[in-house]
């Protein structure tokens, strides 16, 4: 930020030329380049990860493994995605080699970590791919990344964690758990006057200094293990400091709301309607460039119940021909339908250069669980033009290819520097456009 020769220009401009602000990337600091160079910069890259929890119906969700390439037959469970088939890639045989937890569809999905890697500890995790992306994509937006989840216990097959995201220290990142909470965080402006907010920011600083003072005292005499624990507190304060730094820059910039504006979601949304609303909120936030990285740990138990099922998600996941399999397949269809809606919306939003939001976003729908208790061949659909994938194909990777190879490919394909991620052994270069 120090490189900005004249920070006030941006603000002045934003205030005076409201007509132009409808363009999504203007809220980002990338606008500076735009303003000075008069040539639109390439629209930024975005990432969205959608976690399904318990896996899918093996028999009807996956394409036939022998039927690869562009002419594959779209399976029944993905039928609602037919109109997007040219913009999708389905990849089979990806897996996280270390996960042995048959009910943990999300804990290691984006990290590839080994739960038992640390002797003396019964749980260990590492950074998730979205957070790696956010480190580089997040500097120009109001929020570096936003995590979404649902309310209630883990009865949807996600496993431990607060969201799909885990930070650099391998600690869970918290999430917004209702559409209402997400709506306010993303789009509601603080109504306090500017001077007051500036004063509040200053106060915030002194607040952080004060608690840090006590944290230092607390640290004295602690064993190494306990100091490591307390470091989480220090880390949290550091993260707030970074955010305050950002807030200072964004203080005078009102939160952008899409046109037409959204209204506050109904508090009682649950299941299908809840997921759809979260999707719409994500799209709106991507449209106005509030953040470039989203993860969503989707509800499953309430999803199937809102569709009329009377069995639990776990019960469904152990399907067999009959009611349970019917529910499982209807669930697949509904998730595909919702995903198709998400892609429709991504395609409908135009960037400043005439391309669509879809062209610059990478969306992944998947889970660490294949179906039932299988953890091999994790269900994986990638869409969007952000990572330069040559879409429209069904790809069969060699058996047990690390899922992290895909994550690394998506990162690098989006111009994000990384030599490895999790247990990756290389990139899936065959996915990319020649």
């Amino acid at each position: 930020m120090n490189s900005d020769p004249n920070p006030s220009t941006r603000r002045r401009f934003l205030r005076s030329s409201s007509a132009l602000i409808a363009l999504p990337f203007l809220e980002s600091l990338g606008f500076r380049r735009y303003a000075s160079a008069a040539v639109a910069p390439a629209p930024p890259k975005r990432f969205v990860f959608l976690g399904m929890g318990f896996g899918v119906t093996k028999q009807s969700w996956y394409p036939d493994q022998k039927d690869t390439g562009a002419a594959y037959k779209l399976p029944e469970g993905l039928a609602p995605l037919a109109k997007h088939r040219g913009d999708l890639t389905i990849i089979q045989n990806l897996a996280n080699q270390y996960n042995n937890e048959a009910h943990w569809g999300s804990t290691f999905w984006l990290t590839g970590a080994n739960r038992y890697a640390e002797p003396g500890q019964s749980f260990h995790n590492t950074v998730s791919v979205d957070q790696v992306a956010a480190e580089q994509l997040g500097s120009d937006t109001r929020f570096a990344s936003v995590q979404l989840t649902y309310k209630g216990g883990d009865n949807s097959g996600h496993g431990p964690g607060l969201s799909l995201a885990w930070n650099r220290q391998g600690k869970p990142v918290s999430a917004l758990n209702t559409p209402v909470a997400a709506f306010h965080k993303l789009f509601s402006d603080d109504s306090t006057p500017l001077e007051q907010r500036q004063a509040d920011l200053l106060k915030q600083r002194s607040i952080l200094d004060t608690v840090l003072q006590d944290a230092k005292t607390t640290r004295r005499g602690l064993t190494q293990t306990d100091q490591d624990k307390l470091d989480e507190y220090f880390q949290s304060i550091r993260e707030i400091e970074q955010r305050l730094e950002k807030e200072k820059e964004w203080l005078e910039v009102p939160k952008r709301v899409p046109n037409p504006a959204l209204v506050e979601p109904d508090k009682s949304l649950q299941g299908v309607e809840e997921v759809k609303m979260m999707y719409d909120l994500m799209i709106a936030a991507l449209q106005v460039d509030t953040t470039r990285v989203f993860t969503y740990r989707q509800p499953l138990d309430t999803l199937i119940r809102s569709m009329g099922a009377t069995i639990s998600a776990h019960n469904m996941s152990h399907y067999e021909p009959g009611t349970r399999m019917d529910v499982s397949q209807q669930r697949d269809l509904k998730q595909s339908e919702l995903f198709a809606h998400f892609l429709d919306r991504l395609k409908a939003i135009k960037e400043a250069d005439g391309s669509s939001l879809f062209d610059h976003t990478t969306v992944t729908l998947g889970s660490n669980i294949h179906s039932i208790h299988y953890l091999t061949n994790c269900p994986t659909i990638v869409s969007g033009g952000g990572a330069g994938i040559d879409h429209g194909r069904h790809i069969l990777a060699p058996a047990k290819t690390p899922l992290c190879n895909l994550w690394l490919t998506l990162l690098n394909g989006s111009g994000i520097q990384a030599d490895a991620h999790g247990d990756s052994t290389g990139r899936l270069d065959s996915l990319l456009k020649a």
């Binding site: 996960n99 080994n114 918290s174 607040i207 005292t217 004295r220 009682s268 208790h373």
Partner: protein
Amino acid sequence: MGLAQDVAEIPRVHDQVLVEYCFDCHDSLSEKGGIDLEMLSYRIDSVESAEMWQKVLNVLNSGEMPPDNKPQLTSEEKISLLRDLSDQLVLARELLSDTGGISTMRRLNRREYQNSIESLLGVRIEVEDLPDDANSGGFDTNGASLFFSADQFEQYLALARRALDSAIQINEEPPKPIRLEIEPETSTNAFITRVSGTIKANWDKTQAWRTSDKSKPPSEFGLLDEFDVRFRERLYNQQYASYRRYLDDPRSQDAVLLQPFFDRTNFVSVKIPSKASFGEFRIQVFASTLEGAERGDTYLEYGFPGARGGEIERLGHVRVEGNGNGTPVPITLSIPVVKDGPREVRIRHRQHNNRDASRSTFLDSQRKGGLGPEPKLQIDKIVLTGPYFESWPPRAVSEIFFKGMGWKQKDSDGYAREILLRFAKRAFRTRQPSPEFLERLHALYRAEMKTGKKFYEALQEPLALVLASPGFLYLAEPVKQENAGKSELLTQPELAVRLSYFLWSAPPDQKLLVDAREGKLRKPGVLRAHAKRLLEDRRSDAFISSLAHQWLHMERLDFFQFDFRTFPEFDDSVKEAARAEVYETIRHLLDERLPVHDLLDPGYVVVNDLLADYYGLQPVEGSAYRSVSLPDDSPRGGLLGMAAIHAMGSDGNHSSLVERGTWVMRYLLNDAPPPAPPNVPQLSRVRGKLLSPREELAAHMEEAQCAQCHQRIDPIGYGMENFDAAGKWRDMLKLQKKVGKKVVKKEIPIDSSGRLPNGTEFSDFQGLRDAVATHKDDFARGFVEALIEYGLGRPYGFSDESLRERLLNRSAVRDDSMRELILAFVESKPFQRKK
């Protein structure tokens, strides 16, 4: 848990099998796929060897190895190898993750945070925004799993501000109490008259159009269109007769007749006027039973309005005693009203707390030609009084502003300094706040004063900050430099804190603190006496419920919504009563100094009015729990007789004998089966046949991978089949299956014979219960392991085994009560040591 050895090792008996089926490719010579099993140690003592054996287990489970074209293990060989492999791997994981007796410093978990705030400020705040800290399989006291995420600091700060805002009341006089007498029928009748009038008027319009020659559109008749006509007609057909019947009932002129699920007569609403301050309010309800009311119909439930229509945020239930002649009996309800909290209370006949149930039940009754459920209870009059306060100014205010609110202070800056110091010392429990920290707090106070705030307002921010600081949020137990690496005794104040957070999930009270400061805690009998006192105090409910809830994995009770058609009686009131039965039974054991194994087959049951009714026992009066003795053949009594336990072993609709069997192994026999392995091929079942769960699960035995565990699990579950998903006794099993497009139904008698993993056979539920009761020592071990884990804040490990045995032996010498076990634990060295 229940570690029997300190080494994880694959038994040598499998040597032959590995040589015969694996070494062809995976010996040191061939090393196919880079896998050399010949050099792999049978002893699993490192993360690497565990990883390799895990791979072996995984490929056997998935059927990947041996390859199809190679000789296959016999079923017996496979079951035996898989069983040992998975058991030894569980053991190895536990050994490798054993902290060696080291607990990680812990943050206050969500419950403790809430209680600590209440203890300091006298207000109970909503903590929903914080992560619930439940961690899968472990306890919420496990320091290593209590993370601190970036949002959390701000959440703590926001909660502290809110708490201080309600706690600090500056008036010298308590708020004036109000008294309201409400005749609830006035508003109910006015509402029904109005609504039914509109429905009738619109219906008349539809009939005018219907009987016309239809040359004019409905809009000429005051309706929108034909859809509107049909809508209005439907409304009339559904509701008008019910409203009419209500108003025509002469009893409705003097009272509200509660009709479950029927819109406005479903509940009576009591609004606390917004001009009244917050605090405790009392609602006196004059209610009576109506003709035809059976005992099950005589319960009222009450709560704040819920998120959706037809739902409440339940506060409790109460039974209306009456003789059916409408003579009102006053009942007093206590309602906590907090600042900015809900101010409406709804009182209704108990029912399923769910909007869909509410709609459907009414419609179901209509479909059968009825007018909605008959009223069984009526409410004549309501008297609302309050707010009531224990003391004024509230205790928390006089503790913080110990010299008054600051109006008359000459040196208010100096007073502020004293206030901050005293508060921080109390909040930090054992540690002195540093002068630098206090200086910064004071600077913050001065800055706030400069903005024109009043004295007490300017202090709120620094006070809130104290409650978001590590000194308050973490239970730190620093060690002296010279003791680094050695085990050190807790200081007495630290011991006091550990004890009270253990037994109260809250900070120590004055008595305990004074003894700690005076160094008396380690004098003979003093610590024990305090522990006994803490256990006898109702604040130990927090200990009982948290320990039991997490030990017995009771969150499952909230996973599922119970179907209101299948289980009309199992509503939230009964579910809460069933949950409380677990806690209250433990409370009973502690109060009466009864042994832990009384949870297995005690011959008595601890119930309240509602639960006694649910179980079909002799009626008891009152919502308080008491023990009632049972005849020998009663299925009730002990964990295995509890509705909550059976409901947890279901999905809200069907009982699951796998869930139940696993639960019994894990918690009653202290012999947890290995976690469900990934990638086991699932058998596809015989399509179209209507099989009993028992027959369906027979398929588990066909494949070795499944059989190795399900042989142990499923036969226990058979013994519990006589309990339906909501824990009621049944003799017949209703089966239903969709075959093609048809639904096939069948009823079959239940066969509850089965077998424990050690081979003990039983022929029915009583037999299962007797067989489980012979495992009382295993059960007690499991309890002690949970106790150690909960109390020391780390996973139970091999290194705790000697402690466990010592506690069991020691308490057996005095008496073998659960209370004695807890006291022995408190008096043990590990409880009194750092780390």
